[in-house]
Symmetry: C2
Subunit: 455 residues, 2 copies
């Protein structure tokens, strides 16, 4: 059956979106679709894991957008527990192994979608493989961690203060644990500039989360076969449970072995339509690199929202239509308890590394009219190119309504707006939602003024 066969490696966001979009456009008699997934879960929200661990989200099923059975009902041959072991580009087939039976097989393809995702960074520390040290990349990790948590545990250490680290810190304090976050950077949330990260640091301490910065972990202490402390150059942090939040890197061993092109970031290189090669090999999600529209460089950004977009673009193209993924501006939002964090574009160090000269403007405002009940402080930092005033990056730390304000800046960056241009933006105003000058506009005014002064 099928005039053509589409084979997808990886049954999560990018892979299943590609399969679904292709299926919508081409029926089963026209396109056979096979997806191999080595894990036992497909189409789940990895970003929801901290909230599953915290108990805010009830049950694993909640995070599963579509079960393997649902995909199969739509005519997608989704094979769980099957790992791809090789890609033979000449014979146009992949080698797979069923992890339960050990049986290997070959599957020919006309189109191949590489959606292997990312692998968590796991430094080779003594003790890192001991029980009680937990990654939180997939649902299986989450299950193991949740099973490990016991009411008599008192202390948790999170290694890494990026967004996974701070979200896991929140999850663990909600479990009643005393939480220490250890990070090698000057401040947590190093996707922000250190001055903005310092606001997150201060707020986390206010929530009772101990944040230890500029500190390198050297080993996990293991007692009675279980992790008992995190050892650093500066001291020992007792831990009944240790969580690794050190980020991820693209999972590209298979692609590298097949001689497919990898970029400097380590992710697979694709064209605008997400093609790796012109003869039917595509890639998307956490295993590719993307164009940063602000710096013009390619970088690796592991985010479910991009993976879904890539999948849609790939599936649309394989389906016979046309779609492109032009790139990212680097938007991300996260929270620690009630503190909201948004960022888009370049940090100061990124801007400098790209060769920009720039000014910075930081302002404090509120998310509602100052007189409206519940108005809380919000800090906005804007980075704008010298002379031209082009906005290069925006960072926001605050409460109620802070994080998603970054979207306004993200669209502005997409269109290379200047700070002065931004001061005229027609943003929604009413006292429950914004001061008469939205905080984004206040930051734009200050940045525009600094640009003018520097001319």
């Amino acid at each position: 059956m099928g005039n053509e066969r589409l084979v997808v490696i990886g049954g999560d966001a990018a892979g299943m979106s590609a399969a679904s979009q292709a299926r919508r456009r081409r029926g089963a008699d026209d396109l056979e679709i096979v997806v191999v997934e080595r894990g036992r879960w497909s189409s789940y929200s990895a970003c929801g894991i901290p909230y599953l661990v915290s108990g805010a989200v009830d049950g694993f099923d909640a995070l599963i957008a579509r079960s393997p059975e649902e995909h199969r009902k739509r005519g997608i041959d989704l094979r769980m527990g099957v790992e791809a072991e090789g890609i033979d580009r000449d014979r146009r087939e992949i080698t797979v192994r069923d992890l339960a039976s050990g049986r290997t097989d070959r599957i020919g393809f006309d189109h191949l979608v590489l959606a292997m995702g990312a692998v968590p960074i796991r430094p080779p520390l003594p003790g890192i493989d001991a029980p009680g040290v937990h990654g939180v990349q997939n649902l299986e990790d989450a299950r193991v961690l949740i099973d490990y948590l016991r009411p008599d545990q008192r202390r948790a250490v999170v290694i890494g203060g990026g967004y996974i680290g701070v979200e896991m810190a929140e999850a663990l304090i909600r479990h009643g644990l005393e939480v220490t976050v250890v990070d090698r950077s000057a401040q947590p949330m190093s996707t922000l500039d250190p001055d903005m990260g310092a606001l997150v640091h201060e707020a986390m301490e206010g929530m009772g989360i101990d944040v230890v910065t500029e500190t390198e972990v050297v080993a996990i202490e293991v007692v009675d076969g279980r992790a008992s402390a995190v050892l650093t150059a500066d001291g020992r942090y007792p831990a009944d449970v240790v969580v690794l939040g050190l980020g991820v890197r693209p999972n590209t061993a298979l692609a590298r072995d097949a001689g497919l092109p990898l970029g400097a970031s380590g992710g697979l290189s694709t064209d605008l339509r997400m093609r790796v090669t012109a003869d039917g090999i595509w890639a998307g999600g956490d295993c590719v690199e993307v164009l940063d529209l602000v710096s013009g460089r390619r970088r690796h950004v592991a985010l479910g929202t991009h993976a879904n977009k890539h999948g849609r673009v790939i599936g649309t193209n394989i389906g016979g239509d046309y779609a492109t993924f032009p790139g990212v501006v680097g938007t991300a939002v996260s929270k620690v308890c009630d503190l909201e964090i948004g960022r888009t574009g370049l940090r100061e160090k990124d801007a400098a590394a790209s060769g920009f000269e720039f000014v910075t403007a930081t302002i404090e405002s509120t998310g509602r009219a100052g007189y409206y009940p519940g108005a809380r402080s919000m800090t906005v930092k804007m980075i704008a190119e010298r002379i031209t005033g082009r906005v290069l990056g925006v960072q926001i730390v605050g409460r109620d309504g802070a994080a998603k304000r970054i979207d306004t800046a993200a669209v502005a960056l997409t269109h290379r707006m200047t700070a002065e241009d931004m001061t005229s933006l027609d943003l929604g105003y009413a006292p429950p939602f914004s001061p008469v000058w939205d905080p984004i506009l206040v930051a734009a005014r200050k940045a525009a003024q600094k640009v003018a002064e520097g001319r």
Copy 2:
């Protein structure tokens, strides 16, 4: 003193912003600044009045951004209770009357800023001037209304279901009154298309607000010298208090008498720098018309956020720098209790009147990941031009986080994005803040699909 004199008519958002910005750039020995304001309040937030009446905001002072004394301390000669009666363009002076003493005077100007604001629409209905019938345009109106409210009153009728009407309906139910909103349109919030207004209607009924549509008020019934009911063609609505929320029109009698140019909308015409004439007459705020960047037409939009921007542009230019106000896309946000409403760009009828052919796409999503606690439904409607796919308007009705999502669309409209372009926007994603496809992107996907199908 002063080489030049700036005279401002109207001491609210546009006028005082212009004065403040000019003062920042030019000292008192270089520019004398006189502001005449006929009322007793300056620089206050009229948009806060519903929340003052509801009791959410405590006290009149909270709404006053800067008192007359504070302005005077900054070297602005702000004269309260003084009305401008005439503009003599040849002699370059205005005639003013002190409302308390009745004394008239003339003030010469080098620069004149017209910031007279708007006047509320008051149809000549029998009984409209009776006690118990309240406008809510300024702080004096608010004070009279608050003084009129008594615990033994049971019923209120709001005439007009626009944003002032729905905000006042919320304020009055918070006072424990039974509230009826009477509107001549098919649905309340006629700044939305009727299908989206219907969602507001339904939600308001769910809050216990009675909404009577397609109904013309013919008179106010007066008993014992006070308003007792609102009479319509279809029936009588008993009312212990009546609130008028019928919108405003530009206050331009003075300008018209002076032969200054008014546009078709009734507002003063200005150039990009907010100049009415090249020889030093400027205008901003609720008395001007602005360019609608989507339709290319000029229209009157009374919003404090625009008034502040106009004032900044005028003051910057008078101060010797350069600034422009390019126009609006028509963004507005409001709420009724927990229902949030956002809109930007053209409604279907505006698009048709401008000559556009278009498709519409309406989607339902949530403001957070569906599995995240507190996720509530959100409806997004997108209107896009046929063939080109250019987005012409977006409307949002929903709960938590719905209204300010409109800002993303506002920036997109500013840049004439297509629906297909918008599907690639790099918007912030994390489960507490958005589904993996933000509702704006879901609407863009559906609109793009409809555009493609219609080609």
